[in-house]
């Protein structure tokens, strides 16, 4: 036990003391907001600097009208098709929209000619406007005044509330749950990959530099493997913790800054929930209510559990791969069966779990130990029956005990093998033969 502790300490300190660790830890939380900031800035800049594009409209029905925006101006000057084409060719116009005379019940033949490929936004804008106009026209023709239509048009927003046995009400918002499930699942996915790889690299380093021979004359290979996995896991947790603190501090500062500029009404609602209930609610305050309704302790605890469980399960496999090969490039052939379930879990999180946390597929993805660490996070954020949670956690514990045991067998033989490239068959032989 003492010796495992020494290994953990070495693995931990060797990594945490590196400059690259410090850089990655401090910069990563800044990089994402920075990249996003750059994109936002570029797109804002673009809008400002873009020249107004003029679009000629040739409407043979003489009934459509399109409102000009900051980017596009629409000109209706009774030109004909050939003239408009000419204008586009000569560069006087960005493009022209040709609306032939058609039957309102079957509008066809609308064409946009442009000097380049028009953006999706523009086409959508045109389509929506034309569609609206045609609909209005048809309603009018069937005797309904479009004004009435406009008056009766309402927006409906369903507020979803979970009612539990005790009668406690919690406001839900699928978007928030989705975001939380996505974030936590994604973090676990990245964590397993990044730190699993570090385990593998570490094992390969010890094997190829022959340090391992000295080490295993002092302690059992299994202790060495376990110490390495735990030590590197601790590095990951440290990094994660620093991120939480950093991001927390940063967002408090940002929120504090934004808070000063928040509209009075929202601020009042937030300060006084009773008042908020009596007023129509804005999105921000609803999201805040939803967030405060989420069982964060449960979420954080299950996150930590799946975070560690998933890491331990895959970490052992990465260690086994590292022990079987002599260079990272050789590891490729064995990586496949390890990365596939990870990717399946990740894809499953998006395709099934986050969209329908209670479907059969979601259930199985969140139960099977190879995929559960990532998939279950998607369900936890929505709330999951505790029986499912217990089953999944139990299987995950069993799962990582199993992979660690199996990896230990491969590891103890693999680290001393040099010169021969192992195949799956050899790995299987190692598992069977070692006592």
């Amino acid at each position: 036990m003492d010796k495992i502790w020494l290994v953990i300490k070495r693995e931990y300190l060797a990594r945490v003391k590196k400059k690259s660790f410090l850089l990655a830890t401090l910069l990563t939380p800044l990089i994402f907001p920075a990249i996003m900031g750059v994109f936002v800035w570029i797109s804002l800049e673009e809008k400002d600097t873009q020249a107004l594009r003029i679009i000629e409209v040739v409407d043979e029905n003489k009934m459509f009208f399109l409102e000009s925006s900051d980017q596009y101006a629409f000109s209706f000057s009774d030109t004909d098709r050939e003239e408009a084409k000419q204008m586009v060719q000569e560069g006087d116009r960005y493009g022209f929209l040709f609306i032939p005379e058609f039957d309102l019940e079957n509008p066809q033949g609308i064409v946009f000619y442009g000097e380049d490929n028009p953006s999706m936004n523009l086409i959508n804008y045109l389509e929506n406007n034309l569609k609206k106009k045609i609909e209005e026209q048809r309603l009018f023709e069937s005797g309904i005044d479009p004004k009435i239509i406009n008056e009766v048009r309402t927006t409906v927003d369903i507020k979803s509330i979970t009612l539990d046995e005790k009668g406690d009400e919690t406001i839900n918002n699928a978007t928030v749950n989705y975001a939380l499930g996505f974030l936590t699942g994604f973090l676990i996915y990245i964590f397993i990959f990044v730190y699993g790889n570090q385990i593998m690299q570490g094992v390969i380093e010890e094997k190829s530099s022959r340090i391992v021979e000295i080490l295993v004359s002092s302690l059992k290979p299994f202790q060495l493997m376990l110490g390495k996995i735990v030590g590197i896991g601790a590095v990951g947790l440290t990094q994660f913790l620093i991120w939480v603190v950093l991001i927390g501090t940063l967002s408090t500062i940002v929120m504090g800054y934004l808070g000063m500029q928040m509209p009075q009404q929202t601020a009042m609602e937030m300060a006084n929930p009773e008042l908020a209930n009596s007023m129509p609610q804005s999105d921000v305050s609803e999201i805040i209510q939803v967030i405060s309704g989420i069982d964060f302790i449960g979420l954080v605890l299950s996150f930590l559990f799946y975070f560690l469980g998933g890491y331990l399960l895959y970490g052992a496999l990465f260690a086994a791969i590292g022990s079987a090969v002599e260079a990272p490039s050789e590891a490729q052939q064995f990586m496949f069966p390890v990365t596939i379930p990870l990717i399946v879990a990740y894809m499953g999180l998006f395709v099934f779990v986050l969209n329908d946390p209670n479907s059969n597929t979601s259930f199985w993805l969140s139960i099977i130990p190879l995929t559960s660490p990532i998939a279950m996070m998607g369900r936890v954020s929505y709330g999951v029956p505790w029986t499912d949670l217990v089953l999944s956690m139990g299987l995950l514990i069993g799962g990582f005990l199993f992979t660690t045991w199996m990896a230990g067998k491969i590891y103890r033989i693999g680290i001393l093998m040099h010169g021969t490239k192992p195949s799956y068959k050899t790995l299987w032989k190692w598992i069977r033969t070692s006592q």
């Binding site: 020494l6 060797a14 530099s209 340090i211 000295i214 295993v216 004359s217 002092s218």
Partner: protein, 297 residues
């Protein structure tokens, strides 16, 4: 100190060790000889409890080999390995602690050894910044830092220049004086003759000879004499293939059933016998001879 009885080990169909019996007394330097792939490394790994033998018994100080022996053995593998990115000091502390030394003990002993091998100023250097010889010294310290009563050195002199090899040789002899038992596995026969009290030779998984250096040499005497005759007054027979240098003829002759005196008498008839000496085989010759015989037989 170390007793091995009927030790067997195979890797699948390949035999690595076949019925090995060895006895290493306390306080000697024991040479473990054999060509590559003979099974030396397997034997050493089994003694170090890195792997397990299939059958047989190993006793250290009359106790069956068990995990408590790990701290009593110092092992220097043939393929050296240190963490390249770790500092000399941290590395030595780590290995010493793994061998069961307390933090305090580890620090004071490492300081002593760094001074003794004149490398105290490298403490804070990373291994990757050291020369090969320097790294070997660090490796050597890490092997003996826990003052093990049994030291297993696999090719300890490889990578050292002659000056440092001499230094390490003297350290090994000093350790022996202090009662350490040393098992030395090497191909360098001159160091075997200089250092070892006893040897054992393994070839193709089997032990083919063992004993003290004297015994071994005695049993491999080819009964051949090296002779020099000055200005013979009788023609030296052609079949003796003598070489002449400045009037002196040099050649070797087997006893062929005669006693040495009979042979000498015979030779004296040819002229002045300047040299009449039994040819003692070097360990190297015995080694090569044994391996070749094993291959041919």
């Amino acid at each position: 100190m170390l007793q091995i009885k009927n030790l067997n080990k195979s890797y699948g169909p390949n035999r690595a060790l076949t019925a090995i019996d060895l006895s290493v007394p306390k306080g000697v330097i024991f040479g473990l000889l054999g060509p590559n792939g003979a099974g030396k490394t397997t034997l050493i790994r089994i003694i170090n409890q890195i792997i397990e033998g299939d059958s047989g018994e190993i006793l250290i100080d009359k106790q069956k080999l068990n995990p408590s022996h790990i701290s009593k053995i110092g092992y220097l593998p043939e393929e050296r390995g240190l963490y390249k990115k770790m500092k000399v000091w941290d590395q030595l502390i780590y290995f010493a602690r793994l061998k069961g030394l307390s933090n305090y003990e580890a620090k004071s002993r490492i300081n002593q050894w760094l001074e003794k091998l004149e490398i105290g100023s490298w403490k804070e250097k990373k291994i990757e910044d050291l020369s090969k010889g320097m790294a070997q010294k660090v490796q050597f310290i890490s092997t003996i830092i826990h003052e093990p009563p049994l030291l297993i050195l696999d090719e300890p002199f490889s990578g050292f220049d002659p000056v440092n090899a001499e230094l390490i040789k003297n350290e090994i002899l000093e350790l022996k004086e202090n009662g350490t038992t040393v098992i030395l596995s090497t191909h360098r026969m001159e160091s075997v003759e200089l250092l070892c009290d006893q040897v054992a030779m393994i070839n193709r998984s089997k032990k083919i000879l063992d004993g003290t250096i004297k015994e071994v040499k005695k049993s491999f005497r080819p009964e051949v004499y090296s002779i020099a005759i000055e200005e013979p007054h009788q023609l030296i027979p052609q079949e003796w293939t003598a070489k002449e240098d400045d009037g002196t003829y040099y050649f070797t002759l087997p006893l062929s059933g005669k006693s040495p005196n009979e042979l000498l008498n015979e030779l004296m008839q040819y002229g002045q016998v300047k040299k009449f000496q039994e040819v003692i085989p070097s360990m190297e010759e015995i080694f090569i001879h044994q391996v070749k015989t094993a291959q041919n037989g």
